[in-house]
Assembly symmetry: C2
Homo-oligomer: 364 residues x 2
């Protein structure tokens, strides 16, 4: 993995991230494909939308179809028929948020499969091995994510465990093509976050992530923390804000100096009828769209808006037709990709502040 910052604007950066399976321009949004598919989209469609890097989940893939099968297929990219790169979350967040955790000890996590209830003991080393078997471009360390309402001493405890686990993850042999990122925890506590950042940054990870955000805390709390933390993250390594977020979250976090993002929002919202447009979010279930012969966003150049009316999408949505999800997901991912492209170009052109202000308007 190679990362270079090619332009700056205040604390923001535009970069190029060379991965084993793709060159990725940052700041970048990664579509989420938990089970090895971005729901509803053919890999060639994802590529056409301009994405080169998608996120998948190593814990879910470990459960089904299993890393051995994926390895036999020649790696996750090949299994998925995806001509780009893949980052996998380690599953820490999923394990803890899905309540699949039976017991956490320093040694690891005893989990219960959401698919068949099978129990398994998961260690930090094991999850890196799973990701190596999957052949991903970027693996994430297993982290301990406490609930968003956990008291400070529990947050500190989980954070310290995450550090010990991070060091163990680094001991696992991996090929050159698999980068490994560390994760900074510490909840909403600035002192914990700063201390943990320094600790994780001192370890030889290829990139650093801020984890445990967008888990229920008010957006302003997150942004105050990210504004403080982003510039403290090592300048020469990519900075990844996990699980974030809304368009305004992305704009503000790029301004703070973050480089990478992922979120289920554009894809999940699409399936639920919510479309992101240059005039804000619209709900295709709304009665007024039944007869709207304009595309969802007349200003949008996506394959959906170029060809279909909101009335047709509204009809497909009401009839629960598969094509609705396909077309809506296409639109929302185009919107997110375009947002990131606009922000990157603004950094290159030196007018990020104006662009960020303009792009924020529909969301204020």
């Amino acid at each position: 993995m190679k990362f270079s910052v090619v332009a700056r604007s205040g604390t923001s950066r535009a970069g190029v991230l060379d991965l084993a399976h793709a060159r990725v321009e940052t700041p970048v949004f990664m579509p989420v494909g938990t089970y090895g598919t971005v729901k509803g989209l053919d890999p060639s469609a994802i590529e056409s939308l301009g994405f080169r890097l998608v996120l998948s989940n190593s814990y879910h893939l470990h459960l089904s179809p299993g890393e051995d099968l994926v390895a036999a297929a020649g790696g996750l990219q090949r299994f998925m028929g995806w001509p780009g790169a893949v980052l996998t979350d380690s599953g820490g967040y999923q394990l803890f948020s899905l309540k699949d955790v039976v017991k956490v000890t320093d040694e690891g996590v005893e989990s219960r499969s959401p698919l068949d209830g099978a129990r398994e003991f998961i260690t930090p080393e094991r999850m890196v091995q799973v990701q190596v078997r999957l052949g991903v471009d970027i693996a994430m360390v297993l982290d301990h994510c406490p609930p968003s309402d956990a008291p400070k001493d529990k947050v500190a405890e989980a954070m310290e465990r995450t550090t010990r686990w991070a060091k163990r993850c680094l001991t696992v042999a991996r090929p050159d093509e698999t980068a490994l990122f560390g994760i900074v925890q510490g909840g909403v506590h600035l002192d914990l976050r700063r201390a943990h950042l320094d600790e994780v940054a001192s370890l030889p990870f290829d990139g650093l992530a801020l984890g445990g955000f967008s888990v229920g805390e008010p957006p302003d709390v997150m942004h105050e923390l990210v504004d403080d933390l982003a510039p403290r993250l090592p300048d020469e390594r990519p900075r990844y804000l996990m699980g974030v977020g809304t368009p305004i979250d992305l704009i503000r976090s790029v301004q703070a100096g973050m480089d990478m993002f992922d979120c289920v929002m554009p894809t999940r919202h699409a399936r639920n009828g919510q479309l992101f447009t240059s005039r804000g979010r619209i709900n295709v279930a709304n009665a007024r769209f039944r007869t709207d012969m304009d595309p969802p966003d007349p200003a949008c150049g996506c394959p959906t808006c170029r060809r279909f009316s909101t009335a047709y999408l509204s009809h497909l949505y009401r009839r629960k037709e598969i094509l609705y999800s396909v077309l809506a997901t296409t639109h929302n991912l185009w919107f997110y990709r375009q947002l990131m492209t606009d922000l990157r170009q603004a950094i290159l052109d030196g007018h990020l502040e104006e662009t960020a202000h303009r792009l924020s308007q529909p969301w204020l």
Copy 2:
């Protein structure tokens, strides 16, 4: 509408059907898109598969989103974003098979909407008007389809009513671009079928259809009747076998001299895990496919088989991922399109019998 037979082989014909929105080569299979979408497929994908004509359902579209909305969108082809032609079933079969019929009189049908229970009185004239409003290339007359186990006198009664309705359908004004096809009923009774065929053929329809087949009768019963009836249908007009069928049904019916077909089988079976291959039908849910790194049909050139393993499809199917339906539907429609292309080419090349024999092997 213009139809020309360009080659013959025994009772079989290869033809060209010029419709308002497309030139269609026959024999042709029409993918089914009941609610104005072939489930899971983007119109551009349907076109890429080689289809120029799809079937939709005027009764369903009348219920939702309504023919007025579709007319306001510029017609069904435009509403769907479909760069080809559309034939709509009148809804007769659906009305009767879905048990939406409250009462049938000579005047028409009192129906109950499956969407909201609303009652409506549907006449033959009204259903042609609906199809004209939809702007379809080929409209079908409203027919009275008795249950497959109806006694002969009930079948004869429904047949005579279908004739009276057919004549009323012909009185409705329609633009040049909308062709109208008549439908031959008569159940499994050769004498009724022959008599009704003569009667419907004497009317100035643009094409003739055999309706009420593939409704539960044994395949051999249908094929014996179709073998007898197809050559009796007017030679200069297209011959459409409605709702048929399996690969072997299509092969046999093309040999009998039929030109047009539609069936939910390739699309519905795809969604249920059933894939058509050159070695017969396979079920991706079968455990042996979990680890099968070959495509579903190594001999197939479809966009699914060119890029994905059966193991990946099996994984997507188990996880109920949308992409499974998209890729499986793509494969099955490619198979049906290829079958028709092969049959047509064999008629042109004068070796239909050998080709039909070869293509039948996996299905015997």
